[in-house]
Assembly symmetry: none
Homo-oligomer: 218 residues x 4
């Protein structure tokens, strides 16, 4: 486990020349490839560089250390998933609660499952980085989006809003992870999609109550 401390994790330089951009992409791709067919301990900076067709030195011009490379790769993935969920939240605004949950959960699962191999590989490297830090990075944004969306539900209002959302998110992410790590078959993925929707819908229903009617009329 590599604890974050205060070290600079930021990539070292932003490529200005075209050549650099190509290099950075190659490194990125190589990292994932190696992770896929080698596992965590084949993932060495030397090997990544080799696979990317550059020298180690070059790799270190862009990433100050191994963690920063892993961090970058992970971040890109998490951001993609976050964006997918946020987009789902946007689309689902104003719909009934059950529908909302369906849209969002499906967006999440689809994003995660698009490449189950990559998702799985990334779970493994996540363990070597600072857990809480990453959880925050991804969780915060997503939970905010969920909260905003849920307020627009016409048919329900949450009790213990904050914690309910946390649980909802933990259930989505955790259940998916468990299934993935168990080595899910495509069939299982399909089923998961359906059942996770059900799971989240029923939970949300359970922690909601009908909105207070406006004393309109009468």
């Amino acid at each position: 486990m590599i604890r974050n401390a205060q070290t600079a994790f930021e990539p070292r330089k932003t490529p200005v020349q075209t050549r650099s951009a190509v290099t950075v992409d190659a490194i990125f791709e190589a990292t994932i490839q190696i992770l896929l067919d080698g596992g965590t301990d084949r993932l060495t900076t030397t090997r990544v560089a080799e696979r990317a067709g550059v020298s180690v030195g070059t790799l270190y011009q862009y990433y100050p250390n191994k963690q920063s490379l892993l961090f970058a790769v992970l971040t890109v993935h998490l951001d993609k998933v976050s964006k997918a969920v946020e987009a789902g939240c946007e689309r689902a605004r104003g719909r009934p609660l059950a529908e909302m949950v369906k849209i969002v959960v499906e967006a999440f699962v689809d994003a995660k499952m698009e490449r189950t191999d990559i998702s799985n590989a990334l779970y493994r490297i996540a363990a070597d980085l600072d857990g809480p830090a990453l959880a925050k990075r991804m969780g915060q944004r997503t939970r905010a989006a969920l909260a905003a969306m849920l307020k627009t539900a016409p048919d329900a209002v949450l009790r213990q809003e904050k914690f309910a959302i946390q649980t909802l998110f933990a259930a989505m992410a955790g259940t998916t992870r468990s299934v993935l790590e168990a080595g899910a078959s495509p069939a299982m993925v399909r089923d998961l999609r359906v059942h996770l929707v059900l799971l989240c819908q029923s939970y949300m229903a359970a922690v909601s109550q009908p909105p207070r009617r406006h004393p309109s009329g009468a």
Copy 2:
């Protein structure tokens, strides 16, 4: 990640003499201690031996390699949790579905949360071992116990039984993990306990139907 392939993972000898038992225990305890205050990368065989008060040579007499040590430690933990759940299942036989779920989920959460630090540490070493293998080890037994218990519910019968149980288990384990890895405070743990029960209860209710009445009488 250390893939096991065909290597012998079994501990080398089962301690028969008292002296050995003490040694093994010390090694065991040392492993966890180091994990707790050092993180994954302080966890070296030498350090474990040192902390346990034995020589590395001795350690290797009981565990043929590092993985086998980690595997053993993890196994003990998982078995403890499994047993707790199984005991819960036993206790819950014949009760109404909601009650069943409550008992089982609480048993699981309590077992995991008894020492959140240890649970967290073990999540980290789990990443370095073979995921699916471990999932199986723990999952199989537990799911069997759940299945047996659920059949005794007087008020509900599951649809898609097998997959529902898988999802139930993934939700329990995954959600708990997510919360733990985010660095849960004691307060959050308490809330989790309550909400995870709710989550599982509502899901189980959703995938159940009232039992077909026996055409008794009439």
Copy 3:
């Protein structure tokens, strides 16, 4: 230690255009700055170039390799000190021995102590260059100047002149170095100045004898 062997140590081109002169100065200054706040192992060509506001490539246009840069920086410093001593020698011609020594030693100490931080930093890089070569560079000139001056002393003539001068110089340089490297405080520097004069004066007196009187008259 980088032994020079046959490598070209001379700077590559002498700047004729103003732009070049500015560049060279910047590199020079940067080298010292880095040495001051980083120590020997932060002193990399890349860093020097960066701090100087030019590219590494440019640096290598003026200095064919790292040593040549260090050599140049050191040389400038040594020349400055040499010049100060030579000027002292010039001023002191014809004076009594004790006065001569006072003037010269003070000139030397003042030159070295003007920036104790820089002197210290340069001692460090000197170790990475060829010791004897540098000693010669500085020593020869200075000893010649000392010899010429001492011949004009009206009140004394040296025995074993050559070696006495060598010792005088070694004592001046060595003692000063020892004090500096010990991390001299300003107060110590003041004291050193006084005592080094005393030291050299008494030594010179001890190795001198009254001049043979010219058989003038009688």
Copy 4:
């Protein structure tokens, strides 16, 4: 330059088995050998181990890092010199000032000059360690011994005792160093021995005064 900071510099373990003692000695000797025929930058831990006929790993069992190895080598040398001087001080107690100085200076020069090659090599590695720290290590003890000895001189008492001793020591050490680094020939060494005695004697005489007579009798 490797600054000391707070890192453990102490050797890692004291050899208990005979085998270890042999190993440690071999490493020690190898370090010096490499320094002698290679210079500072051939001095790598790998090369030292190789020359010592052990593996790098073994080296690191005894020295936690490169500096600690250098530090140890240097320390042994400095201690040897210190001891020689202290022994000289002991022997010289009660003698007249000039004799005292002669004994001590010769003890120092002889110790340093016993192996000029080694002394020179060590000057070079000293630059890569923390200057002041080392100066203290050696200087303190020696100055204390000098002070104690000088108090027993029957024919002189020092003015500004503390600073005079500091200067005396700096002159001894510094002058010797200068001569050595200039690549002294055996002949020069002989001369240095004589002249350094003279130098120190005349300085000490200059900063002394006859002792106040006890108003005994008359």
